[in-house]
């Protein structure tokens, strides 16, 4: 209790006020069940100004004020996209040496089958001054390589989608922990009171995906549900139940809410239950959201050059590219955590036609987002992260020497890239062995990534915890997590 600004000096009623806003009165997750390490008294920045987070301030000046997380679900192939291994050509069709495989578990799909090396189906090019190698399937991302930091030594410990994505986004492979976005919503809140702190955008796809995007990926786990990600849908209602029914004009809704507020106020005067005041405020915020969300999703004020930058698909609402445009609009509005999900990167077969289709969906728009943030001066305090739950194995699944071949899941190494807020641009960090099978240098575990991201947002991941069932939980878990300082600007 060494924080003079912390809760220690708040009166009970002040405490209750904060708590009430977030938890709801008498909630099971009451004060008794929760705890928060209020961070150091040396907080010295404007991060929390006007914001609503539970942290009194950040530990140190944050490099990034917001995050755009471009989640590629299914396990994009690092071998085709980023991690060039020219030596594989010589090994094509040969059994993967046991010394390389070294006991790695396989999924039930390829266990017991030959592990024959399949070289990349794509070609690689060096880009920019940094000379980063990027696949010819991702020409636009290649073109901004000098803005990016490629981490080629990402590693995880889960080999199946749901546990691995749950690990990637909540720090634990079992369901029940808060997602990374909800940690930030909880800790930092946002300065925009007309939009939620944490918004989620899913690409609208025609093909039924094999991996559903479970809502616990953006859930609040044991944190109060107010911190969960709000899905921004490409539908008549961008947020569920947002639109008033047809036939109810806005001025009548306003009138009705005035009456509602009046009667709620009368009840408050009788019962003195502060929860009623909160409810009145929440109905008012709902009313404001009815204006602010459509204003956000209505892109008619964007110039033609925006759509040219993000590519033709950006004109189709619900596409990944259109969501990238929305992500930039959300960043402009001060939303803390913006998470896109693009599914269907699970290329067990016909990788060449399948993976290139997903590259076409995402390449131009991902690059455009980084460019656009930069030209608007937002990149310096926006952290952009591109990546999925794991990588893919070097062995061919199906026939290694036919275009019908694909790759199985591979947790030991994969590539993630980051840009903006506090990240050293034009760098490549870490390396894999000649087979892109094991990390050869500078491994970055998922929890190291989490620690680094928290650091960039100004939070000490070791101190930021939440008490649940008698334990203090952290995003980075109980094992030692490392801030990857070499990639910090």
């Amino acid at each position: 209790m060494n924080n003079p600004q912390g809760a220690e000096h708040q009166s009970l009623s002040e405490l209750d006020e904060t708590r009430r806003y977030f938890l709801g009165r008498g909630a099971g997750v009451g004060l008794g069940a929760m705890a928060l390490n209020v961070l150091g008294s040396e907080s010295k920045n404007g991060q929390a100004e006007g914001a609503t987070g539970k942290l009194a301030g950040t530990d140190f000046a944050p490099k990034a004020k917001r995050i755009i997380f471009l989640t590629q679900s299914g396990g994009p192939s690092q071998i085709e996209l980023y991690d060039e291994k020219p030596g594989l050509l010589k090994m094509a069709g040969k059994e993967l040496p046991a010394s390389v495989r070294n006991g790695q578990r396989l999924t039930a799909m390829t266990a017991g089958k030959d592990q024959l090396v399949m070289p990349a189906h794509s070609k690689f090019r060096r880009h920019g001054e940094s000379g980063a190698t990027v696949s010819n399937w991702l020409p636009h991302i290649g073109a901004i390589a000098d803005e990016l930091c490629f981490v080629k030594s990402m590693t995880t410990d889960q080999i199946n989608h749901a546990p691995a994505m749950t690990r990637f986004l909540t720090g634990h492979h079992l369901i029940g922990r808060p997602s990374i976005g909800s940690w930030f919503s909880y800790g930092l809140g946002s300065s925009n009171r007309d939009l939620p702190d944490f918004l989620v955008l899913l690409s609208k796809m025609k093909r039924g995906s094999d991996q559903p995007l479970y809502d616990h990926y953006w859930g609040s786990g044991f944190l109060p549900s107010v911190y969960q990600g709000v899905k921004l849908r490409s539908a008549k209602d961008p947020v569920l139940y947002l639109r008033d029914p047809d036939g109810l004009p806005r001025h009548l809704r306003r009138n009705m809410l005035d009456g509602l507020g009046q009667m709620n106020q009368l009840r408050f005067e009788q019962t003195h239950d502060p929860e009623i005041e909160t409810r009145i405020q929440q109905y008012e915020m709902a009313y404001r959201m009815q204006a602010s969300v459509p204003e956000l999703t209505d892109v008619s004020d964007e110039t033609e050059s925006t759509f040219e930058l993000y590519g033709p698909d950006s004109r189709r609402p619900g596409s990944y590219a259109a969501n990238c445009v929305l992500a930039r609009r959300l960043a402009e509005r001060g939303v803390r955590f913006i998470q896109l999900f693009h599914p269907d990167w699970d290329h067990h077969s016909r990788l060449k036609s399948w993976c290139t289709a997903r590259c076409r969906d995402t390449d131009q728009a991902s690059a455009a987002l980084v460019r656009d943030l930069k030209q608007r001066g937002l990149l310096e305090d926006t952290l952009v992260i591109w990546g999925g739950e794991f990588g893919r194995g070097v062995a061919g699944q199906g026939k290694w020497d036919s275009p019908e071949g694909g790759r199985d899941h591979h947790p030991r190494c994969y590539t993630v890239w980051m840009a903006g807020g506090g990240i050293k641009s034009g760098t490549t960090y870490g390396a894999t062995d000649d087979f892109s099978y094991n990390v050869a240098e500078n491994p970055v575990h998922v929890r190291d990534l989490h620690a680094t991201v928290m650091h960039l947002m100004g939070i000490n991941h070791e101190q930021f915890s939440y008490r649940f069932q008698g334990l203090d939980f952290r995003l980075t878990g109980v094992e030692e997590a490392r801030i990857v300082r070499d990639i910090l600007a």
Binding site: G24, D210, P212, P245
Partner: protein, 1039 residues
């Protein structure tokens, strides 16, 4: 350690000791080990000096008195009576950062002065230890005031220490409402409120409580509690999220609560009904409880890994729901705080490790019980009646349509006589490609591509003028040509073509946005087989998946081939709109792109574009062409053509289409009902012949086997020789043994929480050392003992609670009391908290009179916004709300897809793992749900209709009374009526009088038809009033 909970505890302590001093009933400095000391050392020390030997440091444990006070070579950590000689005090106050405890690298903050003072005082008093309260058997404390109910005695005793007393009783209507929600989950009917005496006696209350306890809705209400804890769901969760049919177990739970059979048997049957002698089918059904976990059928999963997950989930659920222990912590290591070792944990898993299961999901998730539900026939009957009703409605509409057919037919004859062209060739505005092929127009509307080396491309044909009023279908012809390889269809090595995807994109000129138009069917003259056999059918061009597509390879290659695509809805192109037809050819076979093709469009719907047969109008045209004789057109028709033409006519008949859709849905519901009336596969427990060996799993990893373990119960909770607890059945009996210190307390606490919003232990999932102590320990124990001694009689427990003055207190609070006791921990007032979201929905149904009160049966599908399942599954599942009375069932019966919980239930339990802590937040998203959810709006409209029926617009006061009684169980005050409701009504009424069309739109909601034009504005304005009242804090709150 600067954590809020600590601060709060300190503040509370300060506040309590202040009260204690002023009342001076006990010594100000009396330290209670469990309440005051254990939380400090547990929070700060046990992680390294506790039960877990794996992480213990310095060979020191502080969770036992002997160890903490032992001589460590000239010193002891704790020297009873002598704080100044105790190393503990020295270390927690040291100014040397190397010596200070807890150490910096533990990320715990140094102890605050208050905690240090507590520790010093405690040691000074001799460092008395105490068994953790929850591990000691509950005993009834003496109730010295016999004139009082024990609950009130304990509560008032506690309040007296703070110089407080319990509050006055709540107003009669409020209390009726509170009881009704608490015991049935529904608000009272106005009749119940009206017939209740104005100054009720104890007997009157007793009668009301008894009638509510006897209501079949009691079982439903309690079942909702139990289902959240039991993580009940209608699907597996995870990848394929297969549907399971475990709902008969849900009905078993409702029945049990209604019959009020003993709770200990309830427990035993759920743990091991299958192992009871001569087990009945219901007793086997009960064990579904332990199969309600999620199933993971992900393709790459090792089934054994999944099976182990299920076993662990059963133990964790047992821990949370019955024992209030966080057993999940011991999966990977000994518990840091509670005396439970990893070995203890895996010994418990041994009881569940030999179920005859494989870890498979969906239909392979054996063992199953074949069970015929007694509740299913009712839904069959309901659906049969609905089918009848919708069929007769359809017949009526069809009859009307018959009369409209002739004029239409005559127009069509005129049309074909002027020359009917089934297809209109596309005249492109522009031709383009994505990658670089060239496209050009040839004669006859044929489009020609010029070869390149590019392996794949998309052909984009932009159309600005169609020459049609609307577009409902599209035809693609692919031509062979002598310039192609082998005179086939393309310039590729093989001469074949593969069409992978077809899209239709509409663009408004000058706008940046495009919208995609859905295609619903694709048919072709022939479908071949590609070299890669996944290229085959034309239907696969609709799914946006480049790995599949249409080829004619292996079929005749010297004739044109044709495919026809149908639009989901006809496209009417606005003056300033144009559209792109995108023909994607992105197969793995390089350069297999069409060399010559033609596109044409039609305005005909239905079979005209869903088959390649001549269109009905084409047939008609042919017939007209043949017949030289003029005469009645209809006479010329054969029966078959007449039928086809009538069907063609109906394609555009909106009323018929709507009636047909309802009739089809009703039939679908009937089929589903019949299926559910047959034998259902319910997942249950049964032992396999040969039991599996059980191991400690190192770090909790499923295939990292450590030491072999036997079945054994938790010695820290209630020790029993292994031979006495060798089976799952004996485990169940151990759980509800009267010597088990936890179960009765834990369950009583959960029941208390239902009615007070918070438990007597405010951490209902954790009765261990890190949990909170009870606010009223004597009361909790008294109730727990009473519960056991009554024969685990749940209704008795409920009645005991709700009969108390404590329960019946008014829930309003003064500013002073709020300041003193913000969380009502002293129970100085009634509980005021927002109702669970499911209760809010049920209340709207009940208040409006829409509620379908039937009990049990297969799940139903309440309204959800369109697309909620498609979003998540990229279209693999589509949610179809139930129609007819099935729409208005209680929320308990709503279909629960684990990966996409019902959207109208804001902050509910997730039903993934066991949950006993209610989620209760207050956010704008909840406000939006209650304002705009279809159920809420349909209830408002129904209330409006009923209000109009009881009072004319000249008697608005009566109408307001009616709505208030229905929704809030009380009359409006004069102020509310005159200053809120009346102006609200007048404003809305004035608007809708001027805008009757909008009134019609607003009021046509759910399954309700548009009101009579003469009253539509009145209905709309009154509906908005109901919408307001349904959103009131008072209406959605337990008061």
């Amino acid at each position: 350690m600067a954590i809020l909970v600590m601060k709060f505890r300190c503040l509370l302590l300060l506040f309590l000791s202040f009260c204690v001093m002023t009342v001076s009933t006990m010594a100000a400095d009396e330290i209670d080990f469990n309440r005051d000391v254990r939380p400090i050392i547990s929070d700060n020390c046990f992680a390294c000096h506790g039960f877990d030997k794996g992480t213990r440091k310095g060979e020191l444990r502080l969770d036992q008195r002997e160890a903490a006070t032992e001589d460590r070579g000239g010193y002891a950590v704790i020297v009873p009576g002598k704080p100044e000689e105790s190393a503990l005090i020295e270390r927690v106050t040291s100014s040397d950062s190397d010596l200070l405890m807890p150490p910096a690298d533990s990320h715990k903050k140094p102890l605050d002065q208050k905690s240090v003072a507590v520790l010093k005082e405690w040691i000074r008093q001799g460092a008395p230890w105490g068994q953790h309260w929850a591990f000691a058997k509950p005993q009834r404390a003496e109730v010295s005031e016999k004139s009082e109910l024990p609950i009130d005695y304990f509560v008032r005793k506690r309040l007296a220490k703070a110089n407080l007393d319990i509050s006055r009783p709540a107003e009669t209507h409020t209390l009726i409402r509170r009881l009704s929600f608490d015991l049935t989950g529904l608000p009272p009917t106005p009749e119940v409120v009206a017939s209740f005496p104005e100054s009720p006696t104890a007997k009157d209350w007793d009668r009301l409580v008894n009638s509510l306890l006897a209501s079949p809705h009691f079982g439903e209400r309690m079942a909702m509690w139990w289902l959240d804890g039991a993580r009940y769901s209608d699907t597996d969760g995870f990848q394929s999220d297969a549907i399971r049919t475990n709902w008969p177990w849900r009905d078993w739970v409702v029945d049990w609560f209604n019959q009020n059979k003993a709770f200990d048997d309830f427990t035993v049957e759920q743990f091991a009904g299958d192992l009871l002698p001569n087990a009945t089918v219901e007793q086997k059904l009960a064990t579904c409880f332990h199969r309600n976990h999620m199933n993971n059928g992900e393709g790459g999963r090792d089934k054994e890994e999944s099976r182990v997950d299920y076993v662990l989930d059963r133990v964790n659920t047992t821990g949370t729901l019955f024992l209030g222990l966080t057993l999940g912590c011991t999966q990977c290591h000994d518990h840091k705080f509670d005396p439970i070792s990893q070995q203890d944990y895996y010994s418990l898993t041994a009881y569940f490790n030999s179920i005859d299961e494989t870890g498979a999901a969906g239909g392979a998730a054996k063992p199953f019980l074949k069970f015929k539900s007694p509740y299913a026939q009712r839904s069959v009957d309901e659906a049969s009646a609905l089918v009848k009703a919708t069929e007769s409605e359809l017949a009526k509409v069809q009859k009307q349509a018959e009369t409209e057919f002739l004029p239409w037919f005559i127009r069509q004859v005129e049309r074909v006589d002027q020359g009917f062209r089934p297809w209109t060739t596309v005249i492109p505005e522009r031709l383009s490609t994505t990658e670089g092929y060239g496209l050009s127009r040839d004669s006859d509307g044929i489009i020609v591509s010029s070869p390149t080396d590019l392996p794949q491309d998309d052909f984009v044909i932009t159309v600005a003028k169609t020459g049609l009023e609307r577009v409902s279908g599209m035809k693609l012809e692919v031509f062979p040509h002598s310039s192609h390889t082998e005179g086939k269809y393309s310039f590729s090595e093989t001469g074949e073509f593969i069409l992978t995807n077809v899209k239709l994109l509409v663009r408004k000129r000058g706008s940046s946005q495009i919208r995609e138009v859905g295609l619903t069917s694709a048919v072709a003259d022939v479908e071949g087989v590609g070299k890669d056999t996944s290229y085959k059918t034309v239907r696969d061009t609709l799914d946006d998946d480049p790995r599949k597509g249409w080829t004619t390879r292996t079929k005749p290659s010297d004739v044109p081939h044709v495919a026809v695509f149908a639009l989901a809805d006809p496209l009417v192109l606005a003056e300033d709109e144009e559209f792109d037809i995108v023909l994607m050819q992105r197969s793995l076979a390089p350069r297999e792109l069409m060399g010559r093709f033609r596109l044409s469009l039609t305005d005909q719907r239905g079979s005209a574009v869903r088959s390649l047969k001549p269109m009905p109008l084409e047939e008609l045209a042919e017939l007209r062409g043949k017949s030289s004789a003029a005469g009645s057109a209809e006479e010329l028709l054969g029966a078959a053509l007449r039928k086809r033409l009538f069907e063609q006519f109906l394609e555009d008949h909106a009323a018929w289409q709507a009636a047909k859709q309802r009739s089809d849905l009703a039939k679908g519901q009937l089929n589903a009902g019949k299926k559910s009336a047959g034998e259902q596969n319910v997942m249950v427990l049964s032992e396999r012949k040969e039991s599996r060996k059980t191991y400690v799993l190192e770090r909790g990893v499923w295939d990292k086997h450590g030491a072999l373990v036997d079945r054994a119960v938790l010695p820290a909770v209630l020790e029993r020789p292994n031979s006495d607890v060798a089976t799952r059945l004996e485990l169940g009996r151990w759980i509800v043994s009267k010597d088990n210190p936890l179960t009765a307390r834990v369950i009583t606490n959960q029941v208390w929480q239902l009615f007070f919003g918070a438990g007597l232990v405010r951490t209902p999932a954790d009765f261990g050392l890190q949990g909170e102590s009870p606010t009223h320990p004597e009361l909790l124990d008294w109730l727990a003992v009473e519960f056991m001694e009554s024969g685990w009689d749940l209704k008795h427990l409920v009645k005991t609670i709700v009969s108390s003055r404590t329960y019946r207190q008014d829930s309003s609070v003064s500013a002073e009391l709020l300041e003193l006791d913000p969380e009502n921990r002293l129970l100085d007032r009634g509980a005021r908290f927002r109702l669970p979201s499911w209760m809010i929905r049920d209340a709207a149904l009940q208040a409006s009179g829409l509620l379908n009160e039937s009990i049990g049966g297969p799940p139903v599908f309440p309204y959800q916004p369109p697309g909620v399942w498609q979003d998540q599954f990229m279209g693999r599942f589509v949610y179809q709300p139930s129609i007819g009375r099935a729409q208005y069932r209680r929320t308990l019966y709503s279909f629960w897809r684990r990966t996409s919980a019902p959207t109208f239930l804001f902050d509910s339990a997730m039903r993934r793992t066991c949950e006993v802590v209610p989620r209760r937040t207050n956010t704008p998203l909840h406000a939006l749900t209650l304002l705009n959810d279809t159920t809420s709006l349909e209830a408002a409209r129904t209330l409006s209709d009923a209000a109009l029926a009881v009072a004319s617009p000249n008697d608005l006061a009566k109408r307001f009374e009616f709505l208030m009684m229905r929704i809030l169980s009380r009359q409006p005050t004069k102020f509310e009526a005159d200053n809120v409701l009346l102006p609200q009504y007048r404003t809305a009424r004035a608007y809708y009088d001027r805008h009757p069309a909008e009134a019609a739109t607003l009021t046509t909601v759910g399954q309700l038809a548009v009101p009579e034009a003469s009253v539509v504005a009145d209905v709309a304005a009154t509906m908005l009033l109901a919408n307001l009242l349904l959103n009131l804090d008072e209406g959605i709150t337990h008061e």
